[in-house]
Amino acid sequence: MEICDKTIHEIKGMLAKKEILPSEIMKSALSRMEKTGKFASFIKTFPEEALKYAEEQDSAPLKGILSGIPVAIKDNMCIEGKETTCASHILRGFVAPYTATVVQRLLNEGAIVIGKTNMDEFAMGSSTETSFFGNTLNPWNKDMVPGGSSGGSATSVSLGEALGSLGSDTGGSIRQPASLCGLVGLKPTYGRVSRYGLVAFASSLDQIGPFAKDVEDAAILLKAISGYDAKDSTSVNAEVPDYPEEIKKGIKGLRIGVPGEYFLEGIDDEVGVCVRKAIKDLEHCGAEVKNISLPRTEYAVATYYIIATAEASSNLARYDGVHYGLREKAGNIIDLYKKTRSAGFGDEVKRRIILGTYVLSSGYYDAYYLKAQKVRTLIKEDFSKAFGEVDVIVTPTSPTTAWKIGEKTDDPLKMYLSDIYTISANLAGIPAVSLNCGFSAGLPVGLQLQAAHFNEAVLLRTAYAFEQMNDYHKKRAFSEK
């Protein structure tokens, strides 16, 4: 087994015993990157710089919980001196003059950034097909999409190019690609992780989270990036548990809820089979399984597309060709805006800006935006009520496994529905995780766990218990032989 196919916690053990050097880890990841280039996980990589840092760490004492670990960062998070494009044309050439809090926290723990990963343009999409730089391929089957919008961050870990990565999740953009690529992907509670330095898509929904090969790695990464940040006023000053320790506590007596609304039409048969089996496994671990109801689930997608696009239309207004990024030639300021934005944004982004502008416009605000906010409150209430009865809610992550490249690109609505199971967690602000719970026709199936606010520990505990009974997480998508 190559070093880059190991987990972070395995490598940590080897580093501690001096069985391996940071530069060897880095060389393994970089060599893998060369072999997997055609999957297009990255928009930009920094091999020399990363290797230099790794070599510096060879002789230095271990710096933190991620010492010498190569990580990949979604290209919507800023790193000082590096271009941040959000996979868009309009932001090309924008070099960030500051570093996002999450990235700084990884660096403080000794992690080494090896590249910026591909994504859907401005994180809008469910398949990493809207990237201006071309799409990323699914590590398990090159004809398939890796999911989105953090498809590049998912594939980089799945392929062993990075040992861990960060993605952002606005409506499922971490969990869904984790599911389609067979990884652990975690969306923390809104406010648990600072958003400072994350290029905003929909401010009230966006949250940064890790991709990892297994639950323990996810726990390590979450611990590294969590915590209050004075630069983000929505960040919450709550104690950060020692997740890698918490996960091992077992789930005896834990109450697990299965919402009937998540197992209706649209769900792929084999996905349903895998998820039901997973629920049985959890029951075998000592959890108590209960049927619950989340009655407003059917309104989640509509509510999401109103709130997310409204916020996006405002957040994306700053890309106008005046201060940075692309600028088209024009004779006056209005034409400058029009030409730059017409040329700089892709179709999906334009579609959402127009939709968002519409739902906020006077005369429609009450009918759409305000109503969506009210429904959002009701969806939150659904969850609060459910978490009075159970500790964890189990559902599929995605109704299907990965689909063929190009299959849904002409049908936005169909694409939007692929996030149907993940969207509610963003509306409610609760934490949720996806982990591999089996395969269907060689493609991974994702299991989603959701918990009450700031209860990431119980999610990871549950996921860890499931992992202990199975070995899906030990399968690797890419083999060098």
Partner: protein
């Protein structure tokens, strides 16, 4: 037909905070373009605003001082519009839940008291500034972007340009008393837009209003409103319709000119700012802030009249500035006649300040020293004329009056023997004047007094000089 004028004013006030509304950048005026900026106020991708609590406190303080209903809940909204000096292309402002609602600003006009009603006072961030160069290009200076602005919106409750002027003076005075802003119009920390309409007297319905922008002094606000009222009256009288529009004040030609013929149909698409959590303020907080509010100028004005028996005019000048009012009170409390204190302040004190262009709190003359100076005049130690010179020296050096008098040997001569000696020698060396007097030219006596005062270097007690000279002349 007789018309009446309806005016509403929107005043933007830059708050006296050290840092900007949502970042740590300096608020200092006059720096090189774009040197007081950071990723946050530049609105770079990925940045987030963090609220300046001091700006909230100053706005609450203003609201409490003007009798507004201050909200327990402070929420911000995004106002979306495109402009090159607005880096995010939205402005963080307050829409449906302004921090302060209602309230009023007291004014006095022709001896009458009136309260101009306020609609709201809310908080927002300032935009930057476009710098157009002669070659046709434009630059953007974002130093001003993100400065905390308080917008004070009056009801259409102002009935004349004079009232508008009085309102602005009173508002500025109040804001300066509160210490929430330096209200410097040249530096843009106080800006005003005026809305004006006219209607036939007795009619309730409001006429079509125009908005006047680009007003850079209170005098121009008044002049532009006078012009605009006449313009509208003439138009209506001539059977024309007033169109709702924005007009600019052309201070060179003293007239308003149309800026946009039609009000652009703006849809600001306001919605709650998702990057800021609402701030909840409790009664304890309000109590604390209320405790920091000083006695406001109109109350002080009335008290000065009642307590110090000042005239309305004097009380007006004494309360025009909080530091000045403090200085007046401190001086008056030291056992000197308040009227005399007021006279000194309105005379030499303000004259020296205006010449030296210094702030009242930077003046070197301390109130006990002015009180001493007045006492020295009362006691006859120095003459009022000498006192003026003494004061000038005190103003420059900050020395006590006694010190100045001692150093310059300025004590008044009230000793009859010495004065008689001076008179003697003056009369001796000016025999022609004495002869004139003797030949019946009575005015020669006045001339003699002048000569005697001069000979004593102004130190002779003038009253005694007059008495003793009179005695001397009658004996001739």
């Amino acid at each position: 037909m007789e018309y009446e004028i309806v005016i509403g004013l929107e005043v933007h006030v830059q708050l006296n905070t050290l840092s900007k509304m949502f970042c740590g950048c300096s608020t200092k005026f006059g720096a090189e373009p774009n040197t007081q900026t950071c990723p946050v106020c530049l609105g770079l991708p990925g940045v987030l605003p963090v609220m300046n609590e001091e700006a909230i406190r100053l706005t609450v303080k203003t609201g409490l001082a003007f009798g507004c209903k201050v909200s327990n809940f402070c929420k911000f909204d995004r106002k979306n519009y495109y402009y090159p000096d607005l880096p995010k292309n939205y402005q963080i402002s307050q829409y449906d839940k302004p921090l302060n609602v209602g309230g009023s600003v007291p004014i006095r006009i022709k001896g009458e008291k009136k309260a101009i009603k306020l609609t709201r006072i809310h908080l927002e961030e300032d935009a930057g500034k476009l710098v157009h160069n002669i070659c046709g290009g434009s630059g953007v200076d974002l130093n001003r972007t993100g400065l905390p602005l308080m917008e004070i919106v009056s009801e259409p409750d102002i009935q004349s340009p004079d009232e508008a002027y009085a309102y602005l003076v009173s508002l500025k005075q109040g804001l300066k008393y509160l210490g929430v802003s330096d209200c410097n119009m040249e530096e843009g920390s106080l800006r005003c837009d005026a809305n004006i309409s006219i209607r036939p007297k007795g009619v309730l319905q409001l006429g079509t209003k125009t908005e006047i922008k680009n007003l850079n002094s209170f005098a121009n606000v008044k002049k532009s409103l006078e012009y605009e009222a006449k313009r509208q009256e003439k138009a209506l009288g001539g059977g024309e319709r007033i169109i709702q529009e924005t007009r600019l004040w052309d201070a060179v030609n003293n007239k308003t000119v149309s800026m946009r013929s039609k009000e652009e149909a703006h849809d600001y698409r306001y919605f709650p700012e998702p990057d800021l959590v609402p701030v909840v303020l409790d009664d304890e907080y309000f109590r604390k802030v209320a405790g920091e509010i000083p006695e406001m100028p109109d109350i002080r004005y009335e008290r000065f009249i009642a307590e110090y028996k000042l005239s309305e005019y004097d009380a007006g000048v004494m309360t025009s500035d909080r530091d000045l009012a403090d200085f007046f009170e401190e001086t008056s409390k030291q056992g000197v006649d308040p009227k005399k204190v007021a006279n000194w302040i309105m005379g030499d004190f303000l004259k020296e300040i205006n010449t030296a262009k210094v702030g009242i709190c930077d003046v070197k003359v301390k109130s006990p020293d002015l009180a001493s100076l007045i006492k020295l005049i009362d006691e006859g130690t120095i003459s009022g004329k000498i006192a003026k010179d003494v004061f000038a020296e005190m103003f420059v050096s900050g020395k006590k009056p006694e010190t100045v008098i001692r150093e310059k040997g300025l004590i008044q001569i009230s000793d009859e023997k010495s004065i008689e000696g001076v008179i003697e020698s003056v009369l001796k060396s000016n025999s022609k004047v004495v002869d004139d007097y003797k030949s019946g030219k009575k005015s020669a006596a006045g001339f003699m007094v002048g000569l005697i005062m001069k000979a004593s270097k102004g130190k002779a007690n003038p009253k005694l000089v007059n008495e003793l000279l009179k005695k001397k002349l009658s004996g001739l």
